[in-house]
Each structure stands twice: as C-alpha cells, then as structure tokens.
Amino acid sequence: MSSEGPVVFDPADFGAIPSSRSLRQWMRTTRRRHADRSFWQIFEDVYLVVFTLAMVGATGGNVVHHLNSSAARCTSSTCGELTLWMPWIVVPLLLATTIRMLLAVGPVSASRATGFWLLATPVNRAALLRPTYRLVVAVVAVTGFVVAGIVWALLGTVWIGFLEAAVLIAALLVCAGIATVWAQQSARRSRWTLRIADLLLIAAVVPAVVLALRPDPLRGAQIANVVVTGFDTNLVDEYDHAVAARLMFTSVETHFLLLAAVVVILAVALVVVTSQTLDKLSRNSVIAGGELLAGLAGAASSLDISMLGDVIAGRHWRMKGRVRSHRGRGSRGGAIVHREFRRVLRWPRRLIIGFALLVVPYAVSGAGFGALVPVAAGFAGFIAVRPMLDGLRSVCRSTGLTRALGMDLRELRVIMAVVPGFFAALWTGLASPAIGSGAATFAVAAGILSGAVRQASARPPSYAGPLVASPMGAIPPGLFSQPARGFDLLLVCMAPVLLNLSGTWVVAIPAVILAVMFSIRPKTD
C-alpha cells in the first residue's frame, strides 16, 4: 500500500448526481461485457420456461374448467352453502396472507450489494426502488387474479362472474400490497398493519367456525351478503340454496362490476401516489427483505419446504434477538423433552395458529364433505405440528450438535418427537368428533406425526455426491421428491381410512409406519 496517493477528496471531481436510469444503464452495459452465454443459449432457457409454463397453465386451466362445469351443475344445498360462504373465508384469508407475506419480505426489497453500492449513495432512492415496487404490484395483481379466478371457478360461477371477482380481488390485494409499502416506512406502521392482518385472519376464521358449527349457516351468509350487495336471497325459495346463490350472483353483477371498478380506480391511484414516497423507505428495511428473499430463493431452488421454514424461523429469532432464559430440568432424554417443551412455548403464535387450524376439519364436515374430513384434518394437523419439530431438524442437520448431545440420532429423533407427538395426539383428539371413529383419529394422528418427523429429519439435497443429468442441468437424485417428503407418509397412514378398510387395517398400517419410522436411524451427510 502506498501512502503517497491522492486519497484526499477533490470536489472538482464530483458534479451532478446521476439519474437512477443512467446508473442502471451503465451497470447493464458493464455486465454485458462479462456475458459468458450467447443469445441463443439464453433463448433456449427462456423458451423452456415459457413452454413449461404454457403446459402447466393449459393443464391446470383444463382441470379448473372441468371442475367449474361440475360445480355449476351441482344443485345440492352443500354446494349452495359453499358458494355463499367461501367468499367470506377466502377474501379475508387472501388479504391477511398477502399482508403478512409482503411485510415479511419488505415488500420493496433489495440485495445487500444494491443496498451498499446504490441505496447508500445520493442517487434518488425512489427512482432506484421503483422497478422493484412495480414488480411487487404486478406479482400481487397477477397472483390475486389467478387465485381468485380459480376459487370462483371452483364454486361454479359463470366465466364473467369469476372474471369480475378476480379483477375485484386482484385490485383489493394490490391495495393491501400498497398498504404494506406504506407500513414498511416505519416500524410502528408495520406493527399496526400486522395487527390488521391478524384481525383479517380472525375474520376468515369466524365464517369457517360458523360453517363448522352449522346453526343456520345459510342465513348468516345471507345476512352478510345483504349487507354488502343489497340482494336478499330470502326472496328465493329457501330450500333451493344453490339456485339462490347463483341467482344472487347474477343479480348482483351490476353491484359487483361497480365495486370492482371503484376498487381498481382506488388501487391505481394508490399505486401512483405511493410510488412517490419510496424515498421514505430506510435502507435497512429494504435490505432485510432482500436477505430473506435470497434465503427463500435458495431454499426454493432445492425444493426444500423445511428449509423455507428454517429461513423464516431464523429471521424471526434474529429479529427477536433476546428472550428470557429458563433453566433446564432432569437429565439426558428428560432434559431434552423439557427443553423442547419450553422451546415450543417460546413461539406462542404458532401454537395459537395450530389450534385455530382445528376449525378446518369441522368446517369441511359442516359443509357436508364427510369423506374429505380425514384428509383435511391430516393436512391441517400437519401444518400445526410440523413447526414444533424445528429442534429435531437442527439436530438432524448438524452432526456437531448431535455429537455434543452425546446420543444416537435415532434415540434423539424419538426424544425430540415426544412434545410434537403429544400435541398431535391432543390436536387429533380435539378434532375427533369431526373425524369420526377412534381408529380414523389414530390414523390421522399417526400420519401427522410420522409425516412431520420424516420431513423434519430429511437430508437436504446434496450437490456434493453423484448428480443426474436433466434439461435443467445436473441435479442431485431425489431433488424432485423432496417436496413430497412427509406428505407421503401422511397419505399412506390415511389411505386405509380413505379406502374404507376395516378398523384393524386403519390402526395397523399407521402403527407399523410409526414403529418403523422410530426404529431406523435417519441418514445424515
């Protein structure tokens, strides 16, 4: 290092601050000089992606179309109830999910590199962040449109009806997205917005609970629809619920259209106004989301659902920073069970959501889909129990930690499944009246536990070993089966229930799976 260089700042070297556009253009030009792939190579990749999307879209569209036709022909009271109730569950649920997810990733985010090399400079921050902002708005609008379109199509609505619903909900979600951009500008606003998301979640649970309890669900939905749309389904023969629902949708088309138009105009206005306030976003808030997105993208590229959860949990604990220490009790296995119990209690929101998911089997049962209750209970229970196995996951992914605990991994897996196992038993016990028989309840509980344990103790795909050639390049064997890990055992345990086998099989198959699961040693790297 020289000590003679002209380090001292000379103001003459520096003039007007460049525009964001010119800086980005400079980066594009510079990067192009390093390009190591030809246009045709890039075109081939893009073609592959577009072709895949077109295939998946066409197949999915066809399935939705068929289900739409089937639902449209359904005239049972169950179909009518679902048509009336689903919007009251789906819309607040979509809004709450959108707000929570967007606030977790920013929603306006940037990489650490962008944060340091661009956002920390005097270049107009709003202009630098605007492309990301537009991308967020576009993604929210398209996702909202597709999800709402599918839900309404599945309810048997005619195409113009679900088109209107999709536009309205996409616009609503864009408004929610803009609210999160506004909330991102201060920690206090973020806290309030998260509370609103929680309220929306409760608002989604309420109709599901009502549907589950079924005092007179149709009447409740009628009241709600009258409040919002001004159309009273009581005018129609109250026994022909499905016809009533469809008639209502047809009659309120004008209201719906008007509402959609108003919300779209509001959304566009909010998008424009908020884009002028992007310079109020702090670099920190923008980078935090970027880091999370980078972690999630890494997990998604290995199709590892558990790793997605790890990234989110890791961020949660980093933000928390500090909690009160609790001394342990007992020794060896007992101490670990106690520690796991304390760890589960340390994130009470997960417990609350876990218990709130109990509404799912009851709602499905209440809607009249008795055959689907075990499946619904299995998946809802899986979502409730799986987060409690984070401890097992840490141990399975860290040979150092396993060594430090001084036990065999097989033994540790059994010990660390005690608390989640207890919760799975409690959860399915509470869901038992909806599930039906005791044998089916056992099968669901076993499926939830074995599936969750399998997913938590699965090895991540390893790029260090032999790879398999694919159109996407070399991939580790088992990459594509990665997302199914856990759910496979869940389904195997529930298969005897779904196939209506005798009680002996319903108990025996899940029992064998549980026994095998806990007797073998999980594979490690």
Binding site: M1, S2, S3, E4, G5, P6, V7, V8, F9, P11, D13, F14, G15, A16, I17, P18, L23, W26, M27, T30, R31, H34, S111, R112, A113, G115, F116, W117, L118, A120, T121, P122, V123, N124, R125, A187, D279, K280, L281, S282, R283, N284, I287, K320, G321, R322, V323
Partner: protein, 221 residues
C-alpha cells in the same frame, strides 16, 4: 455506557453531535446517555470490550439501528440516511458490505464514484486502487478476492467518494501490519483535509495515532 467514561472533543461548530443516545435490544439497554461531539477535521475513537455497544453506536449514527432515545445531529440537523445530503456526506464502513458477483473490483469503485457524481472516474479509481494496493486485483471478481483484499476494497469505498464524515467499524480488521500503518497515515491525511472521523477500534496504536478523543464504552449490566 457511563457518561463519565467519555472524553470527547466539544467544539461549538460540531459536525456530528450525539446527545443522550440510548439504545435497547428488547428490554436490555445497551447504550445509555451517550453524549459527545465531533468537530470538522477531528477523529473520535470508540473503544471498549466486545458487547459494549461500539458497533451499535455507529449503526445508530448511520441509520442502520433506531435509537430508543436521544439526538444525533449532522451539521446541526437530525441525521437520517433517507436524506440525500446525509448519504452524500457520510462515508460508512460497517459490516453491511456485499458485492455484486459479476462486477470487478475496479467496476465496483467506478460505480460508486459515478453514483456520487463523478462522470469519468477511471483515473481516480486507478489511483485509489494503486494507493490501497489492489491494482493487480482490479479485474478480479469479488468471489476470487481474499478476505484481506475484500477488506481493502471496502476501505477504498470510503475514499472514492466525497465525504465530510467517515464512520468506520474496526477499519483495521483483517489488514496486515503494513496495511494498518497505511490506514493510520490515510486517516490522519483525511483529518487534515477536513474530514471528521468516528471509528471503533481494538487497536491501541491506531487509536493513539488517529484519534483526538476517545470514548470508552463499557457493557451495561
């Protein structure tokens, strides 16, 4: 931190003024009642053991952490990194540095100089790379730089742009003996040119050579 443990310069025309700064992690206070002022062309060193809150103070000043209470003023105005002038005048070197994987060392500095209004920074960048001993690595991508080279590149970011205040967190980290000597000379030169420097350090020799005042932080119970 105990206010009595600080001995910092206090000119009336302070470039940076920190008044009653408080910061908490959850309920645990990390910094309490920290007050000091830094004049133009002066340097203050923050010293103290690990966990005393040195980096937290620097983060509060550059806007990466939000103080629980207190005021931080730059040239008499509340410091806020969202304000363009603050981003123009304050050069920072904390642990938040990351690189674009597809831009070379020289291109990174080029980008930064351009973003600060230098339309033709090639000569300046070359001179600084030479000065910091990175000219042979100018065309290397960040992934191929050693940790010491990355650190030098990080230091170069503070030199390739205009600055009134430099906020540096352990600038001597990962530098060899010659590098620390060079750093010491550079910071002294910076002071002479009117730049104020606030830095945290564990190197007594660097503190002795550069700092006009020392603020000693101690971990709060």
């Amino acid at each position: 931190m105990s206010p009595a443990s600080s001995r910092a310069g206090g000119k009336s025309a302070a470039r940076l003024a920190v008044k009653d700064l408080q910061h908490k992690y959850g309920d645990r206070p990390v910094i309490e009642g920290l007050t000091f002022t830094l004049a133009a062309g002066q340097a203050i060193a923050l010293v103290g053991p690990n966990g005393a809150g040195k980096t937290t103070v620097l983060k509060c000043i550059v806007g990466s952490a939000e103080p629980a209470a207190g005021k931080i003023l730059l040239d008499g105005l509340p410091i806020d990194e969202r304000v363009e002038v603050v981003r123009r005048d304050v050069a920072t070197l904390l642990d938040d540095l990351d690189f674009f994987p597809d831009l070379t060392a020289a291109e990174h500095l080029d980008l930064l100089a351009r973003a600060h209004g230098n339309a033709a920074p090639e000569d300046l960048v070359d001179t600084i790379l030479d000065d910091i001993g990175l000219l042979p690595a100018a065309d290397q991508l960040p992934g191929s730089l050693s940790s010491g080279q990355r650190r030098r590149l990080a230091l170069a970011t503070a030199l390739v742009r205009p600055r009134k205040l430099m906020v540096l967190d352990e600038p001597e980290a990962r530098l060899d003996t010659d590098g620390v000597r060079w750093l010491s000379d550079r910071l002294v030169a910076e002071k002479k040119s009117g730049t104020s420097i606030l830095f945290a350090s564990h190197d007594p020799a660097l503190v002795e050579a550069v700092a006009d005042s020392v603020v000693t932080l101690t971990p709060l119970p």
